[in-house]
């Protein structure tokens, strides 16, 4: 059997990004809820603890996606990361602040200290999915890639009405996903408020996603390239959001969370389906597009990496699921007064 390894790695990287936005998506959403839902420092502490044991593992999905891009598609990695230098610098600064904030905030009891780190978590959790929305939209809309595979982009090459719509859609989606996660992991008033907020946000998510799809029709070629596959996916996204709403109304939180997870997975999938077999689209000339072939590592390297990945991924999934199982109980504020 001839394994199409370039395709395999493209799919694997898509899966890693799906995993990243599914998992880190809800902890970004929980971060946003620090200001939008939580009212007291105690509630903020509860929210942090809902994601405390898992956010770091969730972020590794991004790191692994980066490593996999570097290994399997070096040109993709090099073009994207150097081409979007400034957004990535901002993203890194935000991730650095967020990561240490979880660890630092509880180390001092001073309210100002905690406030500072809580705001850091909030802003970073808000802007990170926003920037990812920009990146994904820009990938589909195309960036000025020249014949040497280099992008000489100015700010307005990637900040466009289209990428902003994408950014808002992804941000809202992560927020909703996080709200449902909170309903799963907390009790009482906090849980109730998260659910009530979710019932409102779900409409905004629906509108933003539809706007994103419609805008994609005008700003990208993904319908021409993969319309036959994408239209059913988009239909499924709409269905999933509608189901998320009705499950939220019935307080069936687990199902609502599953639906937003599905929405995220389908949204990210559609980005990759729309790109395929390209990995980056050139807005200068389609001859300069990066594809899973011209951006890839050699067959030997891909083969070795495939063996390694296939061997390791089951273990990774196994112990990550086990860790969620260990921390499956809800977090309650009454059970601790110090935070």
């Amino acid at each position: 059997m001839v394994l199409m390894l370039n395709e395999v790695w493209f799919i694997l990287i898509a899966v890693l990004f799906v995993g990243f936005l599914f998992l880190e998506g809800f902890d970004f959403g929980v971060g946003m809820a620090m200001r939008f839902v939580a009212k007291t420092p105690g509630e903020r502490r509860v929210l942090i603890n809902t994601i405390g044991p898992v956010w770091d593992g969730n972020e590794v999905w991004l790191i692994t996606a980066g490593g996999a891009m570097f290994a399997a598609f070096p040109h993709w990695y090099a073009t994207l990361f150097s081409g979007l230098y400034m957004p990535l610098v901002i993203m890194l600064l935000l991730l650095i602040g967020r990561g240490v904030a979880f660890e630092f905030r509880s180390k001092l009891e001073h309210p100002k200290w905690r406030d500072t780190w809580d705001w850091t978590i909030f802003i970073s959790s808000l802007l990170n999915p926003f920037l990812w929305g920009v990146v994904f939209a820009a990938l589909m809309a195309g960036l000025p890639i020249d014949s040497e595979m280099n992008i000489y982009a100015s700010l307005f090459d990637y900040i466009t009405p289209y990428t902003l719509i994408g950014a808002i859609a992804i941000t809202l989606l992560c927020f909703l996903h996080g709200l449902f996660f909170i309903t799963l992991k907390t009790t009482g008033d906090l849980q109730h408020r998260a659910r009530e907020t979710a019932k409102k946000v779900v409409y905004a998510v629906g509108i933003a996603l539809v706007a994103f799809v419609v805008a994609s029709y005008f700003y990208t070629d993904i319908f021409e390239v993969r319309g036959a596959v994408l239209i059913p996916i988009f239909a499924l996204i709409v269905v999933a959001v509608i189901f998320a709403r009705s499950f939220a109304l019935k307080s069936r939180d687990g199902w609502a969370f599953t639906m937003t997870g599905l929405t995220i997975a389908l949204t990210v999938t559609s980005v990759f389906v729309g790109l395929f077999p390209r990995v980056m689209v050139s807005s200068i000339n389609h001859a300069f597009d990066l594809t899973i072939h011209n951006a890839a590592s050699g067959p030997y390297s891909l083969k070795v990496m495939t063996i390694v990945a296939v061997t390791l991924i089951p273990f990774v999934l196994g112990y990550q699921i086990w860790s969620y199982y260990v921390f499956r109980k809800r977090v309650k504020e009454e059970e601790h007064l110090e935070y």
Partner: protein, 467 residues
């Protein structure tokens, strides 16, 4: 300043900063795992208290290590896109494996360890910390496989202007990896050990929790001594490998302009004049360079001038001599700190055996300062390794000046350099402050959480760790 200089400054500074936390994490978590093993085996609460107390420091440190590490992975593509294009096929693989094999393991099991004291059985909890420790060491292995490729590229061929892997096994069994990896791991263990001995020394001087810190001191001291000798032994192996594979680096580290005599003398100090390619003043110890290079007291070592001539023939015209003063002095600083660590470790063992440790306030004071030794030694060692390889980024195949991203401007790099430096400075200050706080507070308050609540996050999440 031009974009290459700025990119180099950024890479150097962010990497050096990152490598403060990495070895400390590797060392501390290993020691914490040892302590928890003692707890599980001997069942004494004191060891649990120990694992928890040093765990506080480890966790603060680990968080900073993780976030500064994300930057490390991204900046190859951001600032060194030509390098990434040239080596991605070979160099990307170990990075991806590192993420898959090590990062997932570390991050998941550290979460389980922090929040799992009451959730998990003793043995499973112990397994979690060992898996974190193994994860950090595996992580070191893979990133050093990548680095070794830059020092001594193997297992590849150049096709269409880029390096393509053709032998994965050669990559991971490279001689360079197997001198560099153990050397780095021993160095990291020593870093963790010297932090614990230093902090314990401080507490012993203050006569706080004496029994607790004496025990901690002794456990760490054993690790410090073993890794001290490990560092020396593997360092020697590395210098021999260096003479063979990167003779220019070795010659620069020795300030050796002309070929040495046979047997070769080791230059302890020299006043290096790079412009005139000579040393105006030297203090030499006979035989030693031969021994460092060949483990024998004979044999001459090639000097920079003749290697330069050879390289010009091989690679074309150019300057193949790295910054000599930096390479020379960083090597000496590394060797000197390493030697000092061994001496301090042995003397500590002598005092401890004689039960004179607490009375030797002078030694304890020195041990507080000695916390810095492994950091200085490790940083100097990496400066020697990386500066000494210049002008190459991948030895013999790509020069650093050709590796930079052509589409990133000096202004952008200046912006990122300033913002990363600023945020790193803040991190360093906050971390130092938190370290001192945790240390001052001591291990005492750990003991109040005894009840198991129904809530997994209750006591352990809020009580001891998160407080």
């Amino acid at each position: 300043m031009d974009v290459i200089t700025l990119s180099r400054i950024q890479f150097a500074s962010t990497t050096i900063f990152h490598f403060i936390f990495v070895p400390l994490s590797i060392g501390l978590v290993f020691l914490i795992a040892l302590m928890e093993t003692l707890y599980v085996v001997k069942g004494k609460e004191q060891y649990k208290k120990m694992a928890k107390f040093w765990g506080h420091l480890f966790l603060i440190n680990f968080a900073v290590g993780v976030v500064t590490g994300i930057l490390q992975e991204f900046q190859f593509g951001m600032n060194w896109s030509n390098y990434s294009r040239f080596v991605g096929d070979v160099f990307g693989a170990p990075l991806a494996v590192e993420a898959l094999l090590a990062f997932f393991m570390e991050s998941t099991f550290i979460g389980l360890w922090i929040f799992g004291w009451k959730r998990l059985s003793k043995k499973v909890h112990l397994m979690c910390i060992w898996l974190v420790s193994i994860g950090t060491i595996i992580s070191a292995f893979w990133i050093l496989v990548a680095n070794s490729f830059m020092q001594y590229p193997v297992g590849f061929e150049v096709n269409n202007g880029r390096a393509e892997m053709n032998d994965f096994l050669a990559l991971i069994t490279s001689g360079q990896v197997w001198v560099e990896f153990p050397h780095t791991v021993f160095g990291s263990l020593a870093t963790g050990a010297f932090l614990i001995t230093g902090v314990s020394a401080w507490k012993l001087l203050k006569k706080q929790d004496t029994a607790f810190f004496k025990k901690s001191f002794n456990i760490a001291l054993i690790v410090a001594i073993i890794s001290g000798f490990g560092i020396a032994f593997t360092g020697h192996a590395q210098s021999q490998f260096l003479v063979e594979t990167q003779p220019m680096k070795m010659a620069a580290a020795e300030g050796l302009w002309e070929d040495s005599g046979d047997p070769a003398a080791w230059t302890m100090f020299a006043n290096i004049d790079s412009d005139n390619q000579e040393n105006s003043f030297e203090v030499n110890i006979p035989y030693i360079l031969s021994y460092l290079s060949y483990s024998e007291f004979s044999g001459s070592v090639e000097g920079m001038k003749s290697i330069q001539a050879k390289y010009e023939e091989l690679y074309g015209e150019g300057d193949y001599i790295p910054p000599v003063k930096t390479t020379f002095w960083s090597f000496r600083i590394m060797v000197f700190t390493g030697g000092l660590m061994i001496l301090l470790g042995l003397y500590g063992a002598y005092l401890s055996k004689r039960k004179k440790l607490e009375q030797s306030s002078k030694y304890l004071k020195i041990m507080i300062w000695a916390i810095s030794l492994p950091f200085i030694g490790g940083t100097a060692g990496w400066i020697m390794t990386e500066i000494g390889r210049q002008p190459w980024v991948v030895f013999g195949h790509m020069q650093t000046q050709d590796a930079v991203s052509p589409n990133v401007t000096a202004g952008q790099v200046l912006f990122s350099l300033i913002s990363f430096s600023a945020i790193y400075l803040i991190l360093a200050i906050v971390m130092a402050y938190l370290f001192v706080r945790v240390i001052k507070k001591g291990p005492v308050e750990e003991e109040k959480d005894v009840k198991l609540t129904t809530d997994p996050f209750g006591e352990e999440g809020y009580g001891s760790y998160a407080k």
